[in-house]
């Protein structure tokens, strides 16, 4: 307990000294508080931002892998071949024998021409995709009314459609239930069997990368029927789901190798994985966060310089006191510790207040935006450790100058 008494006594001395200069102490405490709060707020904002981006990226299906023809491929005679390089034979072969890392697979079929989509006198400009019954699972899509395609719908080319909420609004009116009703695509009639749950890609859309389409303005139909309407067995690309996020890269290697073994004489293939997109997004976001934190750290640095300034002034003003303390038995180490403690008390108080301000603003931000942004114990520990370090760093030079004052000269100082 002796050492506790030792530090308690010295801490009290620091409090007395700071109390002597109340206004100055309060100002420098605030300087640190603002710095800590700024760093925390920036951290919270960037954490919120990455939460937003990742939750939107998730709507593409985290484990997704896309495989499509590499348009730069050329045959040995350097003639460019036509076509998508993918067809139903590839699909059935992939389903049977491809790829240990593959969980699910859907062909994606599109049309060059835009068909008119209508019900009565209402029209839709939705994008039509030909898919199979695994599409929804792969894309993290959920049905709110009706049902998904059944394998038999695909096999028998049944004229059924799963549509997004914007399509419902355009063709049937907001909030109505269109299950069992008909829509016309070109000259054909489709029965609506399911409605997709609303998906938010507002943020990605706002930066121009919503994956090329509005997620809520989609019409899904059996790819087999779409091929028949197109008069072609071509498949534009495949979307696959890896068994896990970790196996996404393996799957993209496996599927590329599989397809090139089958068709390599004519075509080469390329793959994309959600994992690489997420990696890229992660790098960009942490870069942005880093810049923000650096900017906020500058205000912390200014707070530290504030402490250094008032400690220097204090050392000068208390020169005689320092001489006196040495005369009555204080060593250099005692004086060094005294002034360091004063700086640390300032910065730690600032850290605590900044923590409260920063936590408060994060919580308000969380309520306004809906991101989960509760400050963690780790953040609290880091904020306190950082403030103590700022205190030591900014108090050290003035404290060392105080400790090295010659007692006689200090006592003589006017």
């Amino acid at each position: 307990m002796d050492w506790l008494q030792f530090y308690f006594d010295r801490l009290l001395q620091a409090f007395y000294a700071l109390r002597d200069n109340r206004l100055r102490s309060v100002l420098s405490v605030l300087g640190i508080a603002v710095g800590i709060a700024a760093v925390m707020a920036v951290g919270a904002v960037s954490k919120g931002g990455s939460y937003l981006v990742f939750s939107e990226l998730e709507t593409f299906g985290l484990n997704s892998v896309w495989v499509y023809r590499d348009r730069n491929d050329k045959d040995p005679n350097r003639r460019v071949r036509k076509g998508t390089g993918l067809d139903n034979y590839d699909y059935y072969a992939m389903k049977e024998t491809c790829c240990s890392a593959m969980d699910k697979l859907t062909p994606m079929v599109f049309s060059r021409e835009r068909s008119i989509i209508q019900t009565g006198n209402r029209y839709s400009n939705a994008r039509i995709s030909g898919v199979n019954s695994d599409y929804l699972d792969i894309n993290n899509d959920h049905i709110i009314y009706g049902r998904n395609f059944r394998p038999l719908d695909i096999k028998r080319r049944r004229a059924s459609a799963v549509i997004g909420p914007t399509v419902v609004e355009d063709l049937f009116g907001k909030g109505s239930n269109p299950i069992g009703k008909d829509i016309r695509i070109g000259i054909r009639r489709f029965t609506v069997v399911g409605v997709l749950e609303e998906k938010s890609r507002d943020f990605l859309a706002s930066i121009g990368s919503s994956g090329g389409q509005d997620a809520n303005n989609r019409i899904l139909i059996p790819f087999t029927l779409y091929q028949q309407m197109n008069g072609s067995k071509a498949i534009n690309f495949f979307q696959l789901k890896a068994r896990s996020l970790e196996e996404a890269d393996l799957l993209s290697i496996q599927v590329k190798a599989f397809l090139e073994r089958r068709n390599g004489k004519n075509y080469k293939y390329k793959t994309d994985t959600m994992a690489t997109y997420i990696g890229t997004a992660d790098r960009i976001l942490s870069g942005v966060a880093m810049i923000g934190v650096i900017a906020a750290s500058i205000s912390l640095l200014v707070g530290g310089l504030g402490i250094m300034n008032i400690m220097s002034t204090s050392v000068l003003e208390r020169t005689r006191e320092i001489g006196l303390r040495k005369a009555i038995g204080a060593s250099q180490a005692d004086i060094l510790m005294q002034f360091l403690l004063e700086a640390i008390v300032i910065s730690t108080l600032g850290g605590i207040i900044g923590l409260i301000l920063g936590a408060g603003s994060s919580i308000i931000l969380a309520m306004v935006t809906g991101f989960p942004l509760t400050p963690t114990p780790l953040v609290i520990i880091i904020a306190l450790v950082v403030s103590i370090i700022v205190g030591i760093a900014s108090g050290f030079l003035p404290a060392r100058r105080a400790s090295r004052l010659h007692p006689v000269e200090a006592l003589r100082y006017e």
Partner: protein
């Protein structure tokens, strides 16, 4: 108790050397009350600071209570000041805005005295200097004489072997000055060794022994 031999001390201001002490030999025994006198600038304070282990010497030997001082580092000098010496200054040098009791406790904090002992020892020295009823007053609430008593209590609180006193009445009126000198007389009668600098004859007369400095040398010693 104090033995100074051939002490030289100069101050250096840029290229200029200002010699202050030019070969001081002085011995002081336990229980003595010595006044160091001399004209202003004769080196009295410089000599006193050396005796108080606050300043270093250029040439010579100094031993205090059997310990050789001239070779010690900062930490050991601080320890000696803490254990063996009590300082009293002309300008009191109390820390403003903390109470008399907290001022008196300071030397014990540096000597790592525990809290309970600090309290009782402070009470005892406050009684000894006649200020028991002023313990919670801050310096600005005390008269000059009372402030100097607090400073003396602070100097006494670690039970030093030696009181080192520089012009203790220089900031006081003659009545308060007299009372302070009576206090020193009583402390000396209780066995405290005192070395006091003054340039006033009637103050010096309170001591048993007078040492006169002139041009950095001892000119006259009544011992």
């Amino acid at each position: 108790m104090i033995s100074l031999h051939n002490i030289h001390k100069s101050y250096y201001m840029g290229d200029v050397t200002v010699p202050v002490l030019n070969g001081i030999d002085l011995s002081i025994d336990n229980g003595e009350f010595v006044a160091i006198m001399g004209p202003s600038g004769s080196g009295k304070t410089t000599l006193l600071n050396i005796i108080g282990c606050l300043d270093s010497i250029d040439v010579g030997e100094y031993s205090l209570a059997g310990e050789k001082i001239n070779t010690l580092d900062d930490k050991s000098m601080a320890r000696i000041r803490s254990q063996h010496i009590g300082f009293v200054f002309q300008l009191f040098n109390l820390i403003p805005r903390i109470s008399a009791r907290r001022n008196i406790e300071l030397p014990m904090i540096y000597a790592n005295v525990n809290k309970a002992d600090r309290y009782s020892r402070t009470t005892t020295v406050l009684e000894r200097v006649g200020l028991s009823d002023r313990a919670t007053h801050v310096p600005t609430q005390l008269s000059g004489g009372q402030q100097q008593r607090v400073a003396i209590a602070r100097a006494l609180v670690n039970n030093p072997d030696l009181l080192v006193v520089d012009e203790p009445t220089g900031s006081l009126d003659s009545k308060n000055g007299k009372e302070i000198m009576q206090l020193f007389g009583r402390l000396n009668a209780d066995g405290v060794t005192i070395v006091m600098v003054t340039h006033e004859n009637d103050i010096a007369a309170c001591a048993q022994r007078q040492v006169h400095l002139l041009d950095g040398k001892i000119d006259q010693d009544t011992a």
